[in-house]
Structures are given as C-alpha cells and as structure tokens.
C-alpha cells in the first residue's frame, strides 16, 4: 500500500475537463477584451491618425485631450447625465415595482409595456423621441393644437437643457428593466418579515422605508452597475437623439471618443479618451466585483 494518491484515468480526465471547457471562453476574452485594451493603451501613446501607427509620442495625446474644451464638456455632461439617469431610473423602477407588487389587476399587461423599450434599438428610440421632443412637431405642437397655448417644452433645442432630454429618453428605455429587477427583489422578500413589521406597528410607509427597501440592496447594486455602465457607454442614443447638439452641448465621452477616433482622424486622442473611460469603468466595477465575489461563496 502506498500513500501517494494515484488517480485513475477517469478522475484525472474529469479534473481536466472543466478547465478545458472554460479555456476557450477565457482565451477569447483574454485576447478580444484584455488584449485589445492593452492595444488601446498602447495606441494612446502613439501618433495614430487615420489608421494605427506605432510611433510613440509619450503623453502628448493626454495633454491634448485635457486641453480640449469638448472633453471637459463631455466629462461634465457625463457627470450630469449619469447621476440623473441612474437616480431617476432607480426611483421610477422602484416605484413601479412597488406599485406593481400590490396585487395589481392587469400586472401581466403592464409588465411587458414597461419592459418593451429595452427591446428597441437606438435608431428607433432616438428617432421617436426626437420627434416627440421637437417643439415644432412634437408634444408642444400637439398641446398648442389642443388649445394649451402656453405650454412650453423646448429643452431639446436649448443647449442648457438638451442633456436632460437625453436623460428622459434614456430613462424611458431602461427604467422598465430596472423595474423588473426590483420586482424580482421584492418577490424574494420573506413574507413573514412583513407580517412581523406590521405587528410591530409599522405603517406602510415605514414598512417600505425601514424594512423592505433596505433589503433590496442587491437589486440596487445590480441596477447601479448596469445603469452606470450603460451611461458610460451611451453612444447610440446621443447620436440618434441630438447628434451631440445643440452645438456640442450633449457630447459625452463615448461620442467624443468615437468622433476623434473615426471621423476626426485623431486615433491617438481617441485612444487616450478610451483609456480614461476604461479607468472610470474599472474604478466603479472592481470594488463591486470584489465585494460580490467575496460574498458569494
């Protein structure tokens, strides 16, 4: 008898298969995501213009990037857009989920109505909202036709307010999805806890505010992550809705990056802005992932 563990062939095979199964996905991700990120970082230090070039120019692209007023604007816009978009989407999603959870008649009809915008592509969303928000033909026009002459809603035409219309359309598109996540969270709460709170004398308000909403933490976190990454990646919607205008007032980092890389033939600057964006995403995601993976055993 020997104490060294001699494994039979099947055991060894079964030990290897999981790793082999995971390998293609991992390999593909390493190349097509992380490899490309490294490549982009490299490009951001080169003088690439219309096509990638490999002549290093140091920090020049970054210096230039931060001198561009449009970049500052894009960052500011992102801050406004992302914070409003996330807060409002979560507020609406949570409200709708709570309301839908009250044994509402017709929940089965309402749920898909709230969800369907998520199914539409940016071209559809952008075009439809562009029309609705246009004072000349959209809601304002209709209100005037219906006799409400003082109705005024021309934010999309106003460089100060246009970014808020982007928030509106973005909220429209994703708040239903957030609703679904909260609804799933609400349905997962132990009914007995709610009974306990009622016996403790909690009003409906206290019940939600003190007992239920604090327990929706996972739903909040997931919504936050999904919404923030959508906000940072927002490109399609801007292009379809405002095209970055009026002026460049609705420019976001994503549109900025795209335009410098592909239409202004300054790939180096574009890459630099992409690197900054990636760093922002990482700053949000990595702590979240860390917490998440530690918790889930």
């Amino acid at each position: 008898m020997t104490t060294t563990v001699q494994m039979d062939f099947r055991t060894r095979l079964q030990n290897w298969i999981p790793k082999l199964v995971l390998a293609p996905s991992l390999g593909v991700i390493m190349v097509f995501v992380y490899g490309f990120i490294v490549y982009t970082v490299y490009l951001s230090f080169t003088n690439s213009k219309i096509l990638p070039s490999y002549d290093l120019v140091g920090m020049a692209n970054y210096t230039k990037l931060f001198q561009l007023p449009a970049w500052t604007l894009a960052i500011t816009n992102l801050a406004i857009f992302a914070s409003l978009y996330i807060v409002i989407s979560i507020a609406i999603g949570l409200t709708l989920a709570i309301f839908l959870d009250q044994k509402i008649r017709g929940e089965g009809v309402l749920r898909p109505i709230f969800l369907y915008p998520m199914a539409l592509s940016f071209i559809v969303t952008g075009t439809a909202w562009k029309w609705l928000l246009d004072p000349g033909i959209g809601i304002e026009h209709t209100m005037h036709l219906w006799g409400w002459a003082s109705f005024h809603f021309d934010w999309i035409k106003n460089s100060k307010y246009a970014i808020y219309t982007v928030v509106l359309a973005a909220v429209w598109q994703t708040s239903g999805f957030v609703m679904a996540m909260f609804l799933a969270g609400l349905r997962g709460i132990d009914n007995e806890i709610l009974k306990a709170a009622q016996i403790d004398g909690a009003s409906n308000w206290n019940l939600y505010w003190r007992i239920i909403i604090p327990q929706l933490r996972p739903a909040f976190l997931s919504s936050f992550v999904i919404l923030s990454h959508l906000a940072i990646k927002s490109y399609d919607l801007i292009i379809a809705l405002t095209g970055g205008g009026p002026g460049r007032s609705t420019e976001l980092p994503a549109t900025f990056m795209y335009s410098y890389t592909f239409t202004r033939n300054e790939m180096g600057v574009g890459a630099a802005s992409a690197v900054i964006m990636l760093m922002t995403i990482a700053a949000i995601m990595i702590p979240y992932l860390y917490a998440e993976l530690k918790e889930v055993k």
Partner: protein
Amino acid sequence: MSAITQDTAIRTGRVTRMLIYVTLLVFTLFYLLPLFVMVVNSLKPLSEITGGNMMSLPKTWTIEPWRQAWSSAQIGVEPTGLKPYFINSILMVVPAVAISTVLGALNGYVLTKWSFRGDKIIFGLLLLSCFIPFQIVLIPMATVLGKLGLAGSIPGLILVHVVYGIGFSTLYYRNYYASFPTELVRAAMIDGAGFFRIFWRIMLPISGPITVVCIIWQFTNIWNDFLFGASFGGQIQPMTVALNNLVQSSTGVKEYNVHFAGAILAALPTLLVYIVAGRYFVRGLMAGSVKG
C-alpha cells in the same frame, strides 16, 4: 418559483389604491407614447406628417409605408426593402445567441459546480469584459478578423457577438446555478455520469428560467447591434444596418412614414421575444437573482 403567487402582507387603503392605479396609468402612457407615435405615423401618407400633427390619427389610412419598408424601399442601389436583411439578421442572431448561451451555461456550470483554484478570478475577468466599450475594439478586431479570414462573413460576425456575449451569459448562469445544490452534481457523479452528461441530463433541463433571461438579453443586444454589423458584415449586412441606411440617408428625401414602418419592422422580432417570453423574465431574474 412559487413565491410569485405569494400573497403580499401589505394592505392598502382605497385612496392609496386609486393613486397607485393612476400612477401606473400615467407611466403606461409614458412608455407607450413613442410607440403610439411610430405606429400612427407609419400609417399616414408622407404629406400628412410633414404638414400636420404627429399625434393625430391618420386622416387617410395606408399600409403603403409598411409595404415599401418591407419590400421596395431603397436600401442600397437596389430597391429591396428590408426583407433580405431580415434573413441576414436571423442567420447571424440565431447561432450567435445559441453559442453564447451554451458557452455561458457551460461556464456557469464549471464556475459553480467544478470550482478550482482561481475560478473566482476567471469569473471576475469574464464579468469585467461585459463593460468594455465596443468602439475601442473595432480596429484591433478588424485586424484579427482579417488574419482569421473571417472579415465580412457571417461566421466572423457570429464570433464577434459570441465573444462579447460570453460575459453576460456566464454571469446569468453562474448566479442561477449557484442556487442549486451541489449535491445534485455529486449524486450524478456517483451514479456514474461524467462532466458533459451531468450538464446535458441534469443541469440543462433545469435551466429554463435563466435561459429565457439570457436569450432575451443576448437576442436584443445582438439584433440591435449596428456597429459590428456595419463594420464586419461585409456583403451580409444585418437588419439594423439596413434600417440605418433607410433612415439616415443624409442628402436625400426623408420618407418618415416609411422610416417608422421600417423601425417597427426591425424591432418586431425583439418585441415579439419580449412579449412571448416576458412572462418568464421576472421569474428568471428572481431565480438568477441577477447581480450585475
């Protein structure tokens, strides 16, 4: 999950209920408004749109815009309508969704039931990959596809979508499988089933709810993709690129009614998926307790 049918312990008064219904109604209108506008205007002749109120119902009803958008609108040099592109999209979406879903399921299975040293880091890497902005991968991706000889082909497109779909599908399945007892796998091992047989016979048949979520997610994302389709599709352009060509022509006449009809046509499959499978969506989210 049976919890969906659980009764809510919360009771609400009559006034509160009224308020709730009113709020829900208002939001219903908010969500339906753009769809209403698109549908209404796709049923009007062009002159009524440029001249009138876009909220009003058509004075002359016509399905001509729909017919045009489907079969005779000018997408490129040929007046083909969206029809041929629809096929392209299907050819691309179905395999891409299927492959990324299966890979996600396998990955989730490995990561939860066959854990090994470093699996969490791998999961973290896969998860983080969901968040890469697609614009930055365009150029290096083109190089790689060119080298692989896949540029401008459906397999190339499928590859791209699968690569960027793995992260989310893995996430969904991992969270779902994590809630299943590992004993199931152990029992099957003792019964003599190997890795793939356990997956095929035990795990896959119980993955219904999360598969719905995953398919909805992947299907809408891939179907609605424009950037990759335009860049790597070559001759085989998907529906969104065609719709874009229809809607975005810059120096020609804009036939808005046809555009709206086309937009709805392009969105139809995803809408259908949501309506048919939407019932299972919340259930699937619950089951998968989506985290991220």
